[in-house]
């Protein structure tokens, strides 16, 4: 289940940010998403936030939370799972 979520989040990141040169296998589970890792920037974060709310109902209000959540795909998946258990909803794509 958790591997499925990580894979889903990688696909969502690629699709949302139009990273045509990347496949899910190119994104390390623990690799940095921003800066030196995947090279995402603040505008990319805004796009991802909208996609995550739309697909999983999770809200990332600002960069303070974002810094922790967007550290890697694993931390993002952890956040989606945590928010889903708080809301009582399964952490599955809507």
């Amino acid at each position: 289940m958790s591997d499925d979520l990580v894979l889903e989040l990688k696909k969502l990141t690629i699709e949302t940010l139009k990273l045509e040169e990347f496949s899910p296998e190119d994104i390390e589970d623990d690799g940095q998403l921003f800066g030196d890792g995947l090279g995402l920037d603040s505008i990319d974060a805004l796009e991802l936030v909208v996609a995550l709310e739309k697909n999983y109902g999770v809200v990332i209000p600002d960069s303070e939370v974002g810094e922790r959540v967007f550290r890697s795909v694993n931390t993002l998946a952890q956040f989606v799972r945590e928010q889903s258990s708080i809301s009582g909803q399964p952490s599955a794509k809507k």
């Binding site: 805004l46 936030v49 909208v50 809200v59 209000p61």
Partner: protein, 145 residues
């Protein structure tokens, strides 16, 4: 989409040694248009700061179509796209008033930060309410159309 319009006459200091407006001045003109539009709705930088926010520019584009020249009257046309994320995207057109020729077009994106440097990923309610009159105005039919 409605554009707000501001008129300017090209000044001597804006023209380069080739007799055309230096490309960097178009960005200044975008700023003139942006401030004129935002000023109508108490959304100037000082108004943002009073509410506890700043809105730095993170992306800026300009495409140059035809040169402007000294003394020409130009129209700076400015609009803002309704946000789909926590960012404001302005679009600009610079037209020559005499014949309506499009001289340049551009786009600028601003993100939202708190005064202590936290970037907002969701537009807060107080800003949403403050922006609404601006977007209502831009959705009105263009009286010039």
């Amino acid at each position: 989409m409605k554009y707000d319009e501001t008129e300017l006459r090209v000044r001597f200091n804006e023209v380069d040694s080739w007799g055309m407006v230096w490309h960097g001045h178009y960005i200044t003109w975008f700023e003139v248009g942006r401030m004129a539009l935002l000023g109508k709705f108490q959304l100037l930088p000082k108004d943002f700061a009073r509410m506890g926010y700043i809105a730095p520019v993170v992306d800026l584009k300009c495409v140059f179509k035809e040169p402007a020249h000294l003394d020409e009257e130009i129209l700076i046309r400015t609009t803002v796209l309704k946000p789909t994320k926590a960012a404001l995207t302005f679009r600009f057109q610079v037209q020559r008033k005499s014949d309506g020729k499009l001289l340049a077009s551009g786009e600028e994106t601003q993100v939202l930060l708190t005064l202590d440097g936290r970037m907002l990923y969701i537009i807060p309610q107080d800003l949403r309410e403050k922006f609404q009159p601006l977007f209502d105005y831009l959705e009105e039919p263009d009286s010039a159309a």
